[in-house]
């Protein structure tokens, strides 16, 4: 199919790929390994020759790249673009690089939007890459600085851009940080949800909304950079 695979074997087998233009919320509790999940999704796309735009609101852009380096994962740097919303707020005078463009702050949605658009244009027009994964890590941080209506308007525009570009968008949301109404409001913009849950010391993942019925819950473990799905319950 002319779509995408998360690179998470059992989940991919169950949902049989994700349609180009889809926007997906990644929802899970704190400390459940969501960053590793999102980094795996990015890495699996990069391995297939796709591009990735990562909006980071929690750590500097350099740290995002270092995660791959630290875990000995080779990534094609010309396929990756990071919108760093953190470094400038720390008061560190750091210039943009080829891979990292820095927004003023997580409040600066205009600047964030411009930089996402520039990377999308660069990948499509100049580098001729037809598949891109946009990852926003995280919407929860954005919601700490801006109200739900403001973030909704921003997402309304950029989920549309993802559809137009035939990309996929993954948007990380911390479960338990927002009220149900806020989550329900945001869900209107998404085609599906990757849900993560924790039961005692065990973690589980499933996909909702990408097939006729939700996928089973798969237990997973994280070993270094690897996300290992154990089985459906």
């Amino acid at each position: 199919m002319d779509g995408y695979f998360l690179g998470l074997d059992k989940l991919d087998e169950n949902i049989k790929g994700i349609r180009a233009g889809s926007n997906i919320m990644l929802l899970g509790p704190p400390m459940s390994g969501k960053e590793t999940i999102i980094n795996n999704i990015v890495y699996n796309g990069l391995k297939e020759g796709e591009a990735a735009v990562i909006v980071t609101t929690r750590e500097p852009g350099e740290n995002v790249l270092q995660w791959f380096e630290y875990n000995n994962l080779e990534i094609p740097l010309e396929h990756i673009g990071i919108v760093d919303c953190v470094t400038k707020t720390l008061g560190v005078p750091t210039a943009d690089t080829v891979n990292i463009k820095r927004a003023s702050s997580p409040v600066d949605l205009t600047g964030i939007g411009v930089k996402i658009s520039q990377f999308l244009e660069d990948f499509w027009m100049k580098k001729n890459i037809r598949k891109t994964r946009l990852c926003i890590n995280s919407l929860s941080t954005m919601l700490m600085y801006s109200n739900i209506q403001t973030v909704f308007r921003f997402l309304h525009v950029f989920t549309g851009r993802v559809k137009a570009a035939g990309a996929i968008g993954i948007y990380l949301v911390e479960d338990g940080m927002h009220d149900d109404q806020a989550i329900a409001t945001l869900k209107q913009l998404f085609d599906g949800v990757i849900e993560v849950k924790q039961e005692e010391d065990d973690h589980f993942i499933r996909v909702v909304g990408m097939g006729q019925k939700p996928s089973p819950w798969y237990e997973y473990t994280i070993d270094g950079a690897d996300l290992v799905l154990i089985g459906g319950d």
Binding site: D108, T110, G113, V114, S117, L120, N147, A164
Partner: protein, 390 residues
């Protein structure tokens, strides 16, 4: 009149913005519209005009740093620049600015500080609201629209010009309508040409109640350093064999490359020029008849044409006119370059005009491409014809 400092925009506005008027840069999301406001502010500071910048989406230090990305040092104008800090309090930072909005989510507090600064600064200042959309996001649409009315009245009272950067997120239809049609004296649309992605940016005047403005859009690029430059994606350079087309392309361009063999162009010349606020890609065609099919391919979507002729070779003028036909150049703005004026026997411009039998309004520029003489004059003239300048 306060100038915007954006190439061509002041001409569209009838030489700039009169005192007491308000203007909004109505920026579509994802397009580099904020640079318009920054360029306008820097332009006026450099003309020794007192300016105010209201920052609501980044702290004052970062705001100043952003100007340096474009090669604009505003530090040297600090005595003319007043910053209103409507950001630091939002993230719990202390501010060193004199004017601080302590509660940016409270429009009353915002009003109080903005009105105070408009009273305090010299009359005929330029007031720049860095991100109207952020204020609207924090304070609500209706309350912000009411506040804008108040700020615009203050501008009239103190002869200031007030300019807003606004990102047109999907606010309510009524809010967008008020912004586009009712509340500002002038609206400049800054948009993107999008298909799968945004691959081009343009601006145009939607409204200017003091001027008989031209309903025309300009493509632009943002250069770092440099700021907003009008962008012309394709200017064609054509003309007979050995007229000096490649030399012309190389003389004019900031950077250029040719595909040639044995000293003559067999595919194309390509160059890029940044000159006086304009940025253009230039494509030179081969001149030999056997390459005519290539010329047709290269000519598509050109916005203007340089026709290069060798002033010492009138026998080639018929071929030159033929090439203009092949490139469909007659329907486009074009300028004739009378090249090789340094060679004995070169014909004068008047003689060339009579031999060519072309209308008086088609410019013929005497040039010596090898010495860069006449090439920039020709470029400026063609750009004026393409962009509809005066």
């Amino acid at each position: 009149m306060v100038e915007t400092g954006i190439p061509r925009l002041d001409e569209f506005l009838g030489d700039g913005i009169p005192a007491g008027k308000s203007m909004v840069y109505f920026n579509h999301p994802g397009v580099e519209g904020d640079v318009f406001g920054m360029q306008t502010l820097h332009h006026n500071l450099s003309k020794d005009i007192s300016c105010v910048f209201i920052t609501s989406s980044s702290n004052p230090t970062l705001t100043k740093d952003q100007f340096t990305e474009f090669g604009w040092s505003i530090q040297k104008f600090e005595d003319k620049l007043t910053i209103v800090d409507a950001y630091s309090s939002l993230v719990g930072d202390l501010s060193n600015e004199k004017y601080v909005v302590s509660d940016p989510e409270n429009i009353e507090n915002m009003n109080e500080i903005i009105i105070q600064v408009m009273k305090d600064v010299p009359k005929k200042s330029v007031i720049m609201v860095g991100s109207l959309s952020t204020i609207m996001d924090l304070c609500g649409e209706e309350k912000t629209l009411e506040a804008i009315k108040l700020w615009n009245k203050m501008a009239i009272l103190y002869d200031h010009v007030i300019i807003y950067n606004f990102t047109a997120w999907p606010y309510s239809e009524s809010t967008i309508k008020v912004i586009k049609d009712e509340i500002f004296n002038s609206v400049i649309s800054v948009g993107g040409i999008a298909e799968r992605v945004i691959f081009g940016q343009y601006f145009g005047v939607l409204k200017a109640d003091w001027a008989d403005h031209k309903a025309q859009s300009m493509l632009f690029r943002v250069l770092r350093p440099g700021g907003i430059k009008i962008y012309i994606p394709k200017i064609l350079v054509t003309g007979p064999f050995d007229a000096g087309k490649s030399t012309f392309v190389h003389s004019l361009s900031t950077r250029a490359i040719s595909v040639d063999r044995l000293g003559t162009t067999i595919a194309l010349d390509h160059g890029h020029i940044d000159h006086k606020g304009f940025s253009a890609d230039i494509f030179g065609t081969p001149g030999q008849e056997r390459f005519d099919p290539i010329i047709k391919m290269i000519s598509g979507e050109a916005m203007g044409i340089f026709l290069i002729v060798d002033s010492t070779a009138p026998k080639d003028f018929v071929r030159a006119k033929q090439m203009l036909e092949i490139t469909k150049g007659y329907g486009l703005p074009y300028v004739i370059i009378a090249n090789k004026q340094d060679i004995p026997g070169a014909m004068s411009v008047d003689n060339i005009r009579s031999q060519f039998n072309i209308p008086e309004d088609v410019p013929i520029i005497p040039a010596i491409a090898t010495e860069k003489k006449g090439v920039f004059e020709a470029f400026e003239l063609l750009v004026e014809k393409i962009t509809g300048g005066t």
